[in-house]
């Protein structure tokens, strides 16, 4: 049984374009949660960078190992060496924050250049970018990263260059699609007819005025990817090494005690990963629904 209810009283004016009408409340919830996560991550990064932590993340307390949350001054409990989990979680953001920014910078800049070449110049540029896209899609990303690690060194910045490059084709395709759409509307021809130089058309009228929402959305989703890769690698032991904390190596370290029933030291960083990746993904998708109106239903 499903219920359909008529609005009592007269039906108000309806405007297709009004954002409020188009926005589903759920999208606002997504974006709200995403922004909250971003704020917490940025604030925690600052705290970690300046060393303003609730506790010394390296101070061991052998008398108080694997403590549950809310025990004597440790709001989130302690790990297997009795170190404060809250402080280590905050410090763990250092492991992916700047590398993640590097990755999304590479994919946004590189993707924009490729996308403009494909969309604006077209022709065989388009073919080459399609080829490049298929080529990068051929490698399981983690395997490609492990190859780079083996050939060079296990450095997170090398890894993030790979993540950035593999993220380029998606953005390139979206921008090329946007340019094709603008062409269809004779937008670009009109801009040229006004006598605007090519770089003004490309940088201002295409990238800034028409693609900024798209780029912000993709950067947000790219951050989620970067966090996923960093935590996976540090779980595998290729990222940040003990005793420096990262969420991945915290899960790994805690896992030894997991099977004894002590899941908190491993679950706390896992939940942090879950909540953060979820936040960036929901922010990206929510913004996409609101700004680009992509929802199909």
């Amino acid at each position: 049984m499903r219920r359909y209810v008529q609005t009592p009283g007269p039906i108000g004016e309806f405007s297709e374009l009004a954002l409020r009408q188009r926005a589903e409340p759920l999208d606002l919830v997504y974006v709200g949660y995403g922004l909250l996560v971003v704020a917490v991550v940025v604030a925690s990064y600052m705290l970690g960078a300046f060393g303003w932590l609730p506790d010394d993340p390296q101070a061991m307390n052998v008398g108080l190992i694997n403590a549950a949350p809310f025990t004597s001054g440790h709001v989130l409990g302690t790990d297997f060496l009795g170190r404060d989990l809250q402080a280590r979680l905050i410090l763990g953001i250092q492991a992916y924050f700047l590398p993640g920014l590097l990755a999304i910078t590479i994919s946004v800049v590189g993707g924009s250049i490729l996308g403009i070449l494909a969309g604006y110049r077209g022709g065989w540029f388009d073919t080459i970018i399609t080829y490049f896209d298929n080529l990068l899609d051929s490698f399981p990303r983690l395997v490609l990263i492990l190859l780079v690690i083996a050939a060079f060194k296990p450095d997170i910045y090398y890894v993030m260059v790979v993540v950035g490059i593999t993220g380029m084709p998606v953005i390139a395709n979206l921008i090329a699609g946007k340019i094709a759409f603008l062409r269809q509307k004779s937008f670009i021809e009109a801009a040229h007819a006004l006598g605007l130089p090519a770089h003004t058309v490309i940088l201002k009228h295409i990238l800034w005025l028409n693609c900024r929402a798209l780029l912000v959305i993709q950067a947000t989703l790219g951050m989620a990817e970067a966090i996923l890769v960093e935590t996976s690698l540090s779980y595998l032991g290729f990222g940040v090494q003990e005793p420096t904390p990262s969420w991945g190596n915290m899960v790994q370290a805690g896992a030894n005690y997991f099977l004894q029933g002590n899941f908190w030291p491993s679950t706390a960083p896992a939940l942090a990963i879950l909540a953060t990746i979820l936040g960036f993904q929901l922010l990206g998708d929510g913004l996409n629904n609101l700004l680009e109106g992509k929802r199909r239903r």
Binding site: Y4, T7, P8
Partner: protein, 369 residues
């Protein structure tokens, strides 16, 4: 009416608009009859409810919140069956002041019931052709396979080869050149007109009692449109099939139909014999029909170089139906004598001459109506 094949009585089809949280009254109390052997043309602007009437009759209204009420009686093999029989048990409708306020619907039960009612009717008794024939044919299957499927489903020809011969026979009858070659063609390699011919062949190959043609010329090039109309006219004389023809193009309706029903805002505003309703010298005519006729170019208007007339105003929003005549807001023939009625009271569909009914306060009914 003599020997009806299909009788629609007080049909109401409402949809629900999620965005506006309101019911759209696409078809709002339509009664129509199609007699055996005749062609009934339904004409009206888009949004008048003519296509939804046809889809309701074929049981193809699939939108979840769509509610249908009334009766659609199909007379076949000496029996009468109501194609909406029992559907009212699956939806509870709450009304207030003549407005639907709330609908509770068991969608799965409704769909099941509807499928049971339509089994053995769709395709077999009622066949349908649509607009935009290129998208209406399955692009993943050849024309031949689609025809053979219909023939094997609905006729006594069950064998592959005899069904194929019959399919080629039908492709010939709809004047498709080299039908044996076309048999193995996929729709995407064919022109729109060719696809519509194949659609017509497929519909007729089941030898149905009723053909519903829903905007059969829409989406085709203008020159192709007239060829399809010619084909439909020829097939009508050849096969004598009962047809329910839907079109926004009043010249198509004029050419092909014996009787006509003009729809506006989900209701029938005028109905009668085509020759009578559309006769140039007709004295009694609904203002909307007059406006529709004035909006098409005829040899006469072209010769006299007179302007074509567009119908002023917007198509009626069938969410908030006015209390008076639905056409009141756009009507240019309201006189002071009837203005009060037009604005506040919906006119009945009154009989002005035998078989000719008009829903307008200008023409007081002569019969009992």
């Amino acid at each position: 009416m003599d020997a009806p094949l299909l009788a629609i009585e007080n049909l109401r089809t409402y949809f629900y608009s999620r965005a506006k949280r309101a019911f759209i009254r696409s078809v709002d109390g339509v009664s129509l009859g199609v007699a055996r052997g005749e062609t009934l043309g339904i004409v009206g602007e888009s949004g008048s409810g003519k296509s939804v009437t046809a889809l309701s009759a074929a049981g193809l209204v699939s939108a979840g919140p769509g509610v249908i009420s009334g009766r659609i009686d199909l007379y076949s093999n000496g029996a009468r069956r109501n194609l909406l029989d029992g559907l009212e048990n699956y939806a509870r409708i709450t009304e207030r002041d003549g407005r639907v306020m709330e609908v509770e619907k068991d969608e799965r039960g409704w769909r099941k019931r509807s499928e049971t009612l339509m089994a053995g009717v769709r395709g077999k008794e009622i066949a349908m052709i649509f607009q935009n024939p290129r998208s209406a044919l399955n692009p993943y299957s050849t024309i031949g396979k689609q025809l053979v499927e219909t023939i094997r489903l609905h006729t006594s020809l069950k064998g592959e080869s005899e069904a194929k011969e019959r399919a080629i026979h039908w492709l010939e009858r709809v004047r498709i050149d080299s039908p044996r070659l076309r048999f193995d063609n996929f729709p995407f390699g064919m022109s729109g007109g060719m696809c519509q011919r194949a659609m017509i062949a497929m519909a007729l190959s089941a030898e149905p009692s009723l053909l519903i043609a829903d905007e059969p010329t829409t989406g085709l090039d203008v020159t192709i449109q007239s060829r399809i109309v010619d084909l439909l006219a020829q097939l009508k004389t050849e096969t004598g099939i009962t047809t329910l023809l839907i079109s926004h193009d009043i010249s198509v309706i004029q050419r092909l139909s014996d009787r006509i029903a003009v729809m506006y805002g989900g209701t029938v505003v005028e109905t009668g014999r085509t020759a009578e309703v559309l006769a140039p010298e007709a004295r009694v005519r609904h203002p909307y029909t007059t406006a529709l006729l004035a909006s098409i170019p005829s040899a006469e208007t072209i010769r006299r170089k007179s302007y074509l007339q567009a119908i002023e105003g917007e198509v009626l929003d069938t969410i908030e139906v006015p209390r008076g005549c639905r056409f009141y807001g756009r009507c240019n023939r309201v006189t002071e004598a009837i203005r009060e009625n037009c604005a506040g009271l919906e006119p009945p569909l009154g009989e002005v001459a035998p078989g000719h009914k008009v829903r307008c306060w200008l023409y007081p009914a002569t019969g009992k109506a």
